[in-house]
């Protein structure tokens, strides 16, 4: 076959030098299937697979369909406006995703949040983490045709979203951590409801195990599917639960503790198998550890009296009305200083562990009211490459299994 000749008869398809219009030769007996971006099982991305019979021979993850120029947009806004912008990368994981940005700017400002604010940040981070894992479970459940596992986690996720709503005033995009602290203190009786939610979640995890993880059909689908060997995981630089399920102990909360993670008692689960089942178990175990962290945070919050949750540099500029509102309602309104904040010249770098892995921010300031440069490397962007190396050799029906088990989130990857 000598390429496609257009009906007008002059220009062959191969002669066009338009990016994206080049034709590719594919091997004999290969069948090229474009899965996505409008496919019910693809998410906002495309995976181009070439199959021989029922076996995938090649796979090309083709991302970038939800690129929203986060980094460039950030250069045109005041510092504080970066927080609601960047949390759009992963709205259900908002606190984890924006926390390193806040911490990087705090480094430039030379300030540190009060201890209570740090605990509150950890509180919302872990709530977000659990909700994000449950979201991933739901998507994964529908990918392997298990409708109950689609409905259950989405229902139980509501518990954590309601808690976050109560704490911050928003279900998803909380914009909770701000430079030098957080926006609100916990409402009265919050810690008791939190403990109730923890007990409920422990009970539900056991039920998930019975109906889903130990279900013989599901186990047959997941075991030894999509194995990421330890060395490949390190070589590709994948991160988060996927990396830990392949036997590498790396978690920013443990290796490079931020906020108050070094004062809390928790473990980092690690699985050696590296297959889809191990990745599910990894997330189940991490939810258990997050529950443990939440329990300790609840105890700490109960024991310690209320104190300012914003750094003094900002809090002392607050008008008397703001202070009154804080004393009566526990809400720290954003002080006017934030709008005109000038960050000293310099470079800063911060990272955090999101539900999908390590996210890093490089922030550069030229001393103005807006950032000079914010560079983000998100966890999903690092995990996407894994499809290219894992999918070949598997059957077409394994594609949603592997895609779901990686818990890939396109808006976060495309930024």
């Amino acid at each position: 076959m000598s390429g496609f000749v257009s009906t007008r008869g002059q220009v062959g398809f191969n002669d066009l030098k338009i990016p994206g219009a080049w034709s590719r030769k594919i091997g004999k007996d290969l069948y090229e299937v474009f899965i996505g971006p409008q496919h019910p099982g693809s998410g906002h991305m495309r995976i181009i697979i070439r199959i021989d019979g029922d076996v995938i021979v090649e796979a090309d993850p083709d991302m970038g369909y939800v690129h929203r120029t986060m980094e460039k947009l950030g250069e045109g806004r005041e510092w504080i406006k970066g927080i609601p912008l960047y949390e759009r990368m992963a709205i259900h994981d908002a606190c984890n995703v924006t926390l390193p940005y806040v911490r990087a700017v705090e480094q430039l400002l030379g300030i540190e949040a009060p201890l209570r604010a740090k605990y509150l940040r950890v509180l919302l981070c872990e709530i977000n983490r659990i909700a994000a894992y449950l979201y991933g479970f739901g998507i994964f459940g529908v990918f392997v045709g298990h409708s109950t596992m689609y409905m259950w986690p989405f229902g139980d996720r509501e518990v954590w979203i309601e808690l976050a709503d109560w704490l911050t005033g928003a279900r998803l995009t909380h914009s909770y951590p701000v430079f030098g602290g957080v926006r609100r203190d916990v409402p009265a009786d919050f810690t008791n409801q939190l403990r109730k939610a923890i007990r409920y979640m422990r009970k539900r995890l056991e039920e998930y195990r019975k109906i889903y993880v130990d279900n013989p059909v599901i186990r047959a689908r997941l075991e030894d599917v999509g194995v990421i060997p330890k060395n490949l995981a390190i070589e590709l630089g994948i991160t988060g639960p996927n990396l830990r399920a392949s036997g590498v102990l790396y978690d920013v909360r443990y290796n490079d503790p931020y906020e108050v993670y070094d004062e809390l008692d928790f473990e980092i689960p690690v699985f050696q198998e590296g297959d889809a089942l191990a990745r599910v178990w990894q997330r189940v175990e991490e939810i258990k550890q997050s529950l443990r962290i939440l329990e300790q945070v609840a105890d700490w919050l109960d024991k310690h009296p209320r104190e300012p949750i914003l750094h003094d540099r900002f809090w002392k500029t607050a008008p008397p009305l703001h202070k009154k509102i804080f004393e009566t309602e526990g809400r720290a309104k954003l002080v006017p200083l934030y709008a005109l904040l000038k960050v000293p010249k310099g470079k800063a770098y911060a990272k955090a562990e999101t539900a999908r892995g390590e996210i890093t921010y490089y922030v550069e300031s030229d001393g103005g009211q807006k950032p000079y440069r914010v560079r983000i490397v998100s966890a999903s962007a690092r995990n996407a490459i894994v499809f290219k190396y894992i999918l070949p050799g598997h059957r077409v029906m394994d594609l949603p299994t592997i895609y779901g088990s990686i818990d890939y989130f396109p808006p976060e990857a495309d930024r």
Binding site: Y31, V33, H39, P40, G41, D54, G141, V142, F143, V144, G145, H146, S147, T148, M149, Y150, M151, W152, G155, I211, N215, V217, I218, A220, R221, R395, V396, M397, D398, L399, P400
Partner: protein, 342 residues
Amino acid sequence: MDVIDVIVKIITWPPLWQLVVLGLVAPLGVVVGILWFERKTAARVQRRFGPLHVSPRIGGAIQLIADLMRYAFQEIIIPKTVDKGVFLIAPLTALVLSIVPVVAVPFTSVSHYWPIPMEYSVLISLALSTISAIFIVLAGWASNNKFSIIGGMREAYMITAYELMIILAILSVSAMTTSYNFVDVVLAQTGGKWFIILNPLAFLAAFISVLMATSGFPFEIPESENEVVAGPFTEYSGLLYGVNMGAAYIKRFVYSIFITLAFLGGWLPYQPGDGFISGYLIPSLVIIVKATILMAVFSFLRAVYGRYRLDQALDFAWKLLFPLALMGFGLGLLEAYIGLIG
């Protein structure tokens, strides 16, 4: 009076009665109830309400009628690239052919109400039931869509594996009664000796195979949405899509009737008498009710199991179900040999 007499005569003419009333109208009546039941039980397990808003007082029971109306009035889009003739004919033929096996089975022991002679009814009905699958594969091929072709191929794989198991499992009752006549098979079960008790292995094999061959919810490998969109029916819309779905559903209903006759005692314990009502209507209803209960059991598995991979499903068929069906066949022969069956 004469007109009514003629109409009654026409409706109760056995081939028409079985083809239209039992093959087409009864499944449509049953589908409304069963699908509602299926969705409500699944919703119960999954802690939601299920269908509710169409008729809140009766728990959304007529939701399916609303859905069917939507399908009926939707525009039927025929893409430019499809093979139009085959694209249109395939689902309609599949629907008709999935009903046809109903005329080859007896719904009563009164020979006056048999549509065809019943000497070889087991063989004929099983043979007729296997034809419609070809047209589903054809629908996938005519759609000229990669997902449709993959889905059609999966359908072909599943059908070749599981229809053989159904045939083997149901033929084991022929081995037990040494007869290819469904009437003999049913009459041999008189006195509570239903073959589900005498030969549970064959029943189990038939049950699972029917579930898989008709792409029941946990095993809807050819149509699994996350890989192949809607499988062979990706390009279909509106009423044609509804016809496709209806064909699969009627096929499962027909297989339920086979299993009812072969293992669940057919019209027993009722003894057909003379006349249309006691000789034909009531036995037909008994069989429909039993088949409906069987359909309800099929729908229970929906909430609990995930989807097998294609190669695992085929493994399951050949390594587990095939020996099971053979064992059922052997058990039937053994029971016939020691004279357990009247």
